[in-house]
């Protein structure tokens, strides 16, 4: 573990995030071309996406529905009327020379998102706005000497850009916000949340100021962060860079920077030096977007149980600790899995322990998502039942879990085949206990002389004799009885 980041003494950081959420529409925001990931280059870039003359964009209803769904989930105003603008700049992956976006009249207005902080506190972050726009293509820099290859498959993919107020104060808070946003869009089913494929990307606006002051310092923007860890580290680095710069007599320049994870540093982006002047104007190809109350009500009716409500339910109805409730609800797939296990096992707390413990560790080791878990919720539920009805000990349950993971069959088959059933036959167990006590008179004497620690020795001996299958509670009772007698 690296040491936790501390903002340099006497300074405070001010951070705002712009999160680009790739909406999970089948077709593009303004064209009927497919958005499927991984297609051969340029096989999903149609005439509209290429910006060929004579084409007209037509807005995707589903993209609008998803934007409204998001707006409702963050308690935002949905603007009855919003406008698409052209954001003008030149870059090879932007064939039209402008990006269709929303500038002055976005579809979603001010809202808020409550974020769980590392210290267990919660913080409400204000969201300024969220607007619909199209994504650009991809540049391939390394494949051709002296040339850049352009794949326009991604051009025109629907994005929702979510802009926060500068309410975040530490890199950890920023990462927590991004994480919560990541969970929310997956709850809503509006984004697959696949960070590695670029489904969510984040720009961070960072400035520093002397602690206790309220004026904002000059900010820089770090572009294109696509992991929680990189976001946190890029901001850490940028805070340190700005403080060092100011303390050594320099001034922070307003600029766009890129984070290099290999070197753990940010550097200025040359291509963006002129890009401040986007010359926005309303796109004459698109009429104003009008959203009716009826449409909003329709979308509201499709809202799922949101993470906050789910956390509260886990806490209040299932009786889970805050930590467990927050952990389990972060990712809707994890929450669904947990609920299935809790239902099948009849014990929410044990279900939580297993999902957060053994299962999560095994998934991490195998680098698998919970959707690909080889252990089904039903199987894990049965396993927990076998602990509860004292068929197996908690310790041997881990052995059963490993066998389940390896595909060795169902829980009861594994327990029988491997002879893992707990010895709860009190007659057999008592005989064993008496045997162990008789074989170790020295330790018995020590125990009776008040050396309580020796008790563990007897437990160990019996467990060894039963290959760990003795019912621990029964064993303890029996041992105390036998050692205390005669």
């Amino acid at each position: 573990m690296s040491t936790p980041f501390v903002t340099p003494r006497g300074w405070e950081a001010v951070i705002g995030l712009e999160v680009h959420v790739q909406l999970a529409t089948r077709s593009k925001i303004f064209s009927g071309a497919s958005t499927a990931f991984g297609a051969a280059p340029n096989t999903q870039a149609c005439a509209v996406d290429l910006g060929l003359p004579g084409v007209l964009p037509v807005l995707n209803l589903e993209a609008v529905r998803m934007a409204v769904k998001f707006g409702l989930a963050i308690g935002a105003v949905i603007h009855a009327r919003s406008v698409f603008d052209r954001k003008n700049y030149f870059y090879p992956d932007l064939p039209k020379g402008y990006q269709i976006s929303q500038f002055q009249q976005p579809v979603v207005g001010a809202g808020r998102l409550t974020v769980g902080l590392p210290d267990g506190q919660e913080k409400t972050v204000r969201i300024t706005r969220a607007h619909l726009e199209e994504d650009a293509g991809k540049s391939v820099h390394d494949a051709f000497p002296g040339l850049t290859g352009i794949d326009l498959n991604r051009a025109g993919t629907a994005l929702l850009e979510v802009v926060s107020e500068p309410d975040l104060r530490t890199p950890a808070e920023a990462a927590a916000y991004f994480r919560r946003m990541h969970g929310l869009v997956r709850y809503l089913g509006i984004c697959d949340g696949n960070l590695a494929e670029g489904s969510m990307r984040c720009d961070a606006n960072v400035s520093v100021r002397p602690a206790g002051t309220t004026t904002l310092g000059e900010r820089t923007e770090i572009k294109n962060l696509n992991s929680f860890r990189f976001l946190e580290r890029a901001i850490e680095h940028e805070i340190e860079r700005q403080v060092e710069l100011i303390e050594s007599g320099g001034t922070v320049r307003r600029e766009t920077r890129l984070y290099d994870p290999d070197r753990n540093e940010t550097r200025a982006m040359r291509s963006k030096e002129l890009s401040d002047d986007y010359r926005y104007f309303p796109d004459p190809d698109l009429m104003p977007l009008v959203i009716t109350e009826a449409f909003i009500d329709d979308v509201r009716a499709t809202l799922p149980e949101l993470p906050e409500a789910r956390r509260a339910r886990y806490r209040d109805t299932l009786g889970l600790p805050d930590y467990d409730a927050a952990w389990l609800t972060d990712d809707p797939a994890v929450a669904d899995y947990f609920e299935a296990v809790a239902h099948a096992s009849g014990d929410a707390k044990l279900a939580a322990n297993w999902v957060m413990g053994e299962l999560s560790a095994a998934l991490n080791r195998a680098e698998r998502s919970i959707a690909d878990s080889p252990v089904t919720p039903a199987a894990l539920g049965t396993l927990i039942q076998r602990i509860r009805d004292e068929t197996i000990s908690s310790k041997l349950a881990k052995t059963v879990f490993e066998a389940l993971w390896a595909g060795a069959g169902d829980v009861d088959t594994i327990i029988e085949a491997r002879g893992l059933r707990q010895v709860s036959d009190s007659g057999a167990l008592e005989a064993l206990v008496r045997q162990v006590v008789a074989d170790n008179p020295g330790q018995v004497a020590q125990y009776r002389a008040g050396k309580d620690k020796v008790f563990g020795f007897f437990v160990g001996q019996v467990m060894k004799a039963t290959q760990g299958k003795a019912n621990p509670k029964q064993l303890n009772d029996l041992l105390r009885e036998v050692l205390g007698s005669d």
């Binding site: 096989t43 209803l61 609008v64 820099h141 290859g149």
Partner: protein, 93 residues
């Protein structure tokens, strides 16, 4: 009227103008801006900004894949293509 920074506009528009063209554009832009100034002098307080000259609202289309793309057709007009990618002079970050 503010001075027109032709060099800046050329950079934004990715245009290379020679001296004669620059002088001509300077004159054209000065007349255009004079016209804009004249329009801006009109009192528009209380009038909602016009986003589109037509009265209509945006039509929405269902989220269906309706386009089949033939990259070879589009790429036949591109100056350079390799491995399915359009090639452009190197842009570096």
């Amino acid at each position: 009227m503010a001075a027109i920074d032709i060099a800046h506009l050329c950079r934004l528009a990715q245009l290379a103008l020679d001296d004669a063209e620059t002088r001509a554009v300077q004159g054209d832009l000065a007349r255009i801006i004079a016209m804009v100034d004249q329009m801006q002098a009109v009192d528009t307080s209380g009038i909602e900004p016009l986003a589109h000259p037509l009265e209509g609202v945006q039509r929405l289309r269902p989220d269906l894949v309706t386009e089949t793309v033939e990259p070879a057709r589009y790429q036949s007009i591109a100056p350079a293509v390799e491995d399915g990618l359009y090639l452009v002079p190197r842009v570096v970050e």
